[in-house]
Symmetry: C2
Subunit: 332 residues, 2 copies
């Protein structure tokens, strides 16, 4: 018997969570859709029925077994305690709790065993972190991972549905020969790339780039791992890509990494061909290709990876966490 | 008195060469526009007059003082000897001669002094090489450059005018809900990124990535420099971008690199703000921003750089080479 609340149900990730719950036949006896006051009041079709969207509030969690949060850090900090107090397991997609020692930060295929220590609250990692960790995890054992330089090519949907609308609007403006207006991003994203994903910090790295470092260290269990990222937004609708140049302790061949990746769930080891965001969009797998011996890190490897950041980078990973934590049989 | 031939005059770079010659008031007494048989026969407006486009052939260079080639390696190898035999100085934009010891490979702001040894043939570097070298050149002296990991975000116009047409066509197909057709690129480039710029080699790197390594070593005078690149095409019309994570011998602060860049011609040191391809498109400068102490290379720096690859990455650099080699007064 499982009563499920989705907080932020009308957002890009929230809607994807509903789709994933249905596709994986997650056992849902009652579904409670919660959203901001602005989005509440309407109705949303999910799991074969229409559901009222209610305002997310502290009293909305009574009787809930599982609360999937995708509503940002502020809402998570405000409402997760209420959901836990009501007895729900909280899986939160924001960065609010990711670095708290008492809150596991989990990619089930990599550190699912850390779930056991949860106290009613589990954090879902940043989407770029998930992409990177899924691609390099085998290198921890295979080669003694020492350092990672990662550069991302991040889809606009990672910034929410309004960001997708902004790209579409700019494309229409461009077609009409009008000046482009930008509200979500600091510059037009149509026919452009912007090396700015979340605010820049004092040290010149962005918040996103720092999350990638800190979360990767925690998930891979390598607190001293050197991780330097440049996170860049590109005019792709869906699916994040990244380049990885990794330094190792011991040489690893491309064939050995492909073989290790092929043995892991959730990975498409693309030894042939060139995976692109259009290949990964809408699917569950992380695609890894272009694995080659690096030219700077010796020993080291370079590779290319792609993943639908709304699926494995957010909604799917959250539902996988819930399946593992609640002992649900895994669905489709 | 200067009679100038432009070989490949109807291509994306050729047209830009004509614009640059005019904008810089390059002394042109006679202009000869040459192109493939397919493009010959028509007329092209350049430097305030209409010019017949003639078929590029060995007998087309009599009396020519300067031949600017932008017609690919095959044509360059076929016709550059004839142009030189006719007494012309050849500046070639293809990769045909770039690694030949008797042919200088020149970015005037960096290694202009190597021009003096030319024997009638000078090579213009690859566009990504120019972007990278312009951004990191000060680090050779400042920090003792040791290694570079560079990931590019390359505009479709780098693959020629037909590639731009392909992006436009795919955008129209997408708007009409039709399937996207790809001819120039190996996958749709609309709302996509493709980690494939020129063919892949046996070692897993692409030809483009290898050019970036080999040419950067030659231009910076560092034959042992470690350079590992991942070159990626993005749906940008004009201006290439790149991330650089560089390893140094000695620590260099971001402020010191910005100061050194500010002292160099052809650079916009963007200490504030986030330069994007739309900022660089149509202009002559290389923009460098987001300089920060790296997190993997210690000591090291990370940075972001952007440049109109048809201007400084090709046409402008070629004309600057010609100005320097022929002792022309620099124009506008």
């Amino acid at each position: 018997m499982s009563r499920v609340a989705v907080v932020g149900a009308t957002g890009a990730v929230g809607r994807e969570m509903l789709a994933v719950l249905e596709q994986r036949c997650f056992p849902v006896d009652e579904l409670r859709l919660l959203a901001s006051d602005r989005s509440a009041g309407g109705s949303l079709r999910a799991l074969g029925a229409d559901h009222e969207v209610r305002a997310a509030a502290a009293d909305a969690f009574s009787g809930v077994d599982l609360a999937l949060f995708s509503a940002g850090s502020r809402i998570a900090m405000e409402l997760a305690p209420a959901a836990r107090a009501a007895g729900a397991l909280v899986v939160d997609n924001s960065s609010a709790f990711r670095m708290r020692p008492d809150c596991p930060l989990v990619i089930p295929e990599i550190n699912g065993e850390t779930l056991a220590a949860h106290r009613g609250l589990i954090a879902n990692p940043n989407c770029s972190t998930i992409l990177l960790c899924m691609a390099v995890a085998p290198l921890v054992e295979l080669g003694g991972l020492q350092g990672i330089v990662a550069c991302t090519y991040q889809a606009v949907s990672g910034a929410g549905t309004r960001a997708v609308e902004e790209l579409r609007r700019q494309e229409a403006q461009e077609a009409r020969g009008e000046a482009l207006t930008a509200e979500i991003f600091p510059a037009p994203i149509s026919h452009n790339v912007i090396p700015f994903v979340q605010a820049l910090q004092e040290d010149g790295f962005s918040v996103e780039e720092t999350k990638v470092r800190d979360e990767t260290r925690r998930i891979l269990g390598l607190p001293g791992l050197a991780v330097s990222a440049t996170c860049v937004r590109v005019p792709v609708l869906r699916a994040h890509s990244a380049t990885v140049h990794a330094g190792l302790e011991r040489p690893v061949s491309a064939a050995a990494l492909y073989a290790a990746l092929s043995d892991r769930p959730g990975i498409q080891a693309a030894q042939e061909g060139i995976p692109t965001p259009r290949d990964a969009a809408g699917g569950d797998d992380v695609w890894v290709g272009r694995v080659r011996i690096d030219r700077v890190f010796r020993p080291g490897l370079a590779l290319w990876c792609v993943m639908d950041q709304l699926r494995k980078g957010a909604a799917l990973n959250a539902v996988q966490i819930a399946e593992l934590a609640l002992g649900c049989p895994r669905g489709a």
